[in-house]
Symmetry: C2
Subunit: 336 residues, 2 copies
């Protein structure tokens, strides 16, 4: 027998539950769908003590690729732009480089010519602009650059071109005891300069491509660390699990990426026991950000390509592909 009171009570309860859920949605920039549901479900089953997939707090590790996963990587990686922008200062300090390639081409400012530089030229520029100075000088240089540099399309600082939905995931995971790490092919020291302020990720939770430093003394006797042109870790592909082992020493429970450079990280993460979460961002939103694949017939690209093979592997492995267009109702924090 259903009494009127019971009906009213049920209706009230349902209403209360509904409004609480609305008020407390931890991922408001995510549209309802399998991706959002996967994140909510993962956090629920790994943090509920009564769940068979419960994960003790100290083991809660989540790793995020940076370029293309947490912020915009098109038309070209911000760090590469930084390096190109540094060339005049490098040539000023070493004028003999003025007529030497690839510095000569970069100095012309001719974007089409610069875009044609080969990988070995780019490496020469990276070495010249990312090494030779103290870690503190480098930090100060990057900090100054970030204040003035603007993204060519959005005319905003690079640090504003971060994905609001991913900020919500980072915050949501941390609120549930997860330590959030960036695991990036980008330079560790470069990303450290802004990651704490922009993502709430401190320097010690930054696994990047790592160059050697050398301990020594300045003229005044003060200890200094000088950046060397020698790689300790190339933090891309297989280097990602290697960097995770070195810097964290535990297998992550969740990993987020967007290219084949993140594939090994997702493999390593999701091969662990219990509930694991692997997710890949697909850039299919030319209007609000960019659209590139070539997966799913999206345009080809040289920067951050997402091939169909990776898409197929994701289906196979139970990784979720996040459609920027369909899964996100907001891309940037400044979007309405």
């Amino acid at each position: 027998m259903k009494s009127l009171l019971a009906t009213i009570t049920f209706a009230t309860l349902a209403f209360v539950t509904f409004t609480n859920a609305q008020a407390q949605d931890p991922l408001p920039s995510w549209n309802d769908g399998p991706a959002k549901q996967a994140i909510l479900n993962f956090v629920q089953v790994t943090t509920d003590k009564s769940s068979p997939q419960y994960v003790p707090t100290e083991q809660r590790i989540a790793t995020f690729d940076q370029d293309g996963t947490l912020w915009t990587e098109h038309p070209i990686y911000a760090q590469v732009t930084y390096c190109l922008d540094r060339v005049p200062a490098v040539v000023k300090a070493k004028p003999e480089l003025k007529n030497v390639e690839p510095f000569k081409t970069v100095l012309t400012g001719d974007r089409a010519a610069i875009a044609k530089l080969e990988l070995k030229d780019l490496k020469t520029i990276l070495a010249a602009t990312l090494t030779g100075m103290t870690t503190e000088q480098f930090r100060a240089d990057v900090k100054a650059w970030l204040k003035t540099a603007r993204h060519p399309r959005f005319d905003r600082p690079y640090t504003e071109l971060i994905y609001q939905p991913m900020l919500e995931v980072l915050k949501y995971l941390r609120a549930h005891g997860y330590k959030t790490y960036i695991v990036t092919g980008g330079g560790q020291d470069f990303v450290r300069v802004y990651a704490e302020q922009v993502y709430g990720i401190p320097p010690e939770q930054l696994v990047g491509t790592i160059g050697e430093t050398k301990y020594g003394y300045a003229k005044d006797g003060k200890p200094i660390l000088t950046k060397q042109p020698k790689l300790i870790l190339n933090d891309d592909k297989g280097g990602k699990p290697e960097g995770i082992h070195m810097m964290i020493g535990r297998r992550p429970f969740a990993s987020f990426g967007n290219t084949p450079g993140d594939q090994e990280m997702l493999e390593y993460t999701t091969a662990g026991e219990g509930a694991r979460l692997g997710m890949l961002v697909l850039h299919d939103d030319a209007k609000r950000e960019y659209a590139y694949g070539p997966a799913q017939g999206l345009p080809e690209t040289k920067v951050g390509a997402f091939p169909q093979a990776l898409y197929d592997k994701a289906q196979n492995r139970g990784w979720f592909v996040i459609s920027m267009k369909n899964d996100w109702n907001r891309v940037y924090p400044f979007d309405k």
Copy 2:
């Protein structure tokens, strides 16, 4: 005018303050003296918001050497004993090594002969026993060894030969928002196996000597990381600040060591602005632990030497030398 009431009130207050201080002494195994006072004072001035030397929580980093600073390193480093103990298993897997030096000598079990092995022999043994397996196999091996191995003098597991006063410092610092790191010349993967349980220091806060790992797949397709015979970081001397930069990315505010291998870490730490703390453990207690220098006329040693030059530098730099004999009223947790 002093009324009786005022006198009683004052006496009561003094008594309350005294008993609270007793009850709340965070470093009960430390005798009163400059070392204990320096630790209490450092924490006070860096964590009191009204202090000009206040340090924001996210910057509170403290680093500790491991062998000889947190646990006993005599008569020989535990990790070296582990490697020697592993030799029979290595030879069983590769019988051709049976008659090859230095394996042949180690297999005899003749301690005097083993003690005479040269550095290059020791390196051969370290490479054979610390590399070639997956990170998970290594972890399991070390875990099993720690359960059965006994210290030759104290006849206890190595993990019990930890310094109670240092456990109190670790706990006290953490209670005041400091992140505590181990920065050791020992193997990162080796120390990680017990550091969390023994010191409350998780794997991600372990900066050690780091060997390369290689990502690959087991026969069943499962991702594995295999330990390679190639060093990424020799975490001793200048390598300590380099490792700190790589793994933490911030300059510590406090550092604890016990040999010239820790000197650069203390230099780097104490060269920073604001209140910084540098401390060195001097092993001058032959009765409860060991006594070795040669600083202060203590006996010479091949393991963990503390030369007079380091002692003099400590005086010069304002680093504190902890006398195990005088500053600690208890050495091990099992001491009465």
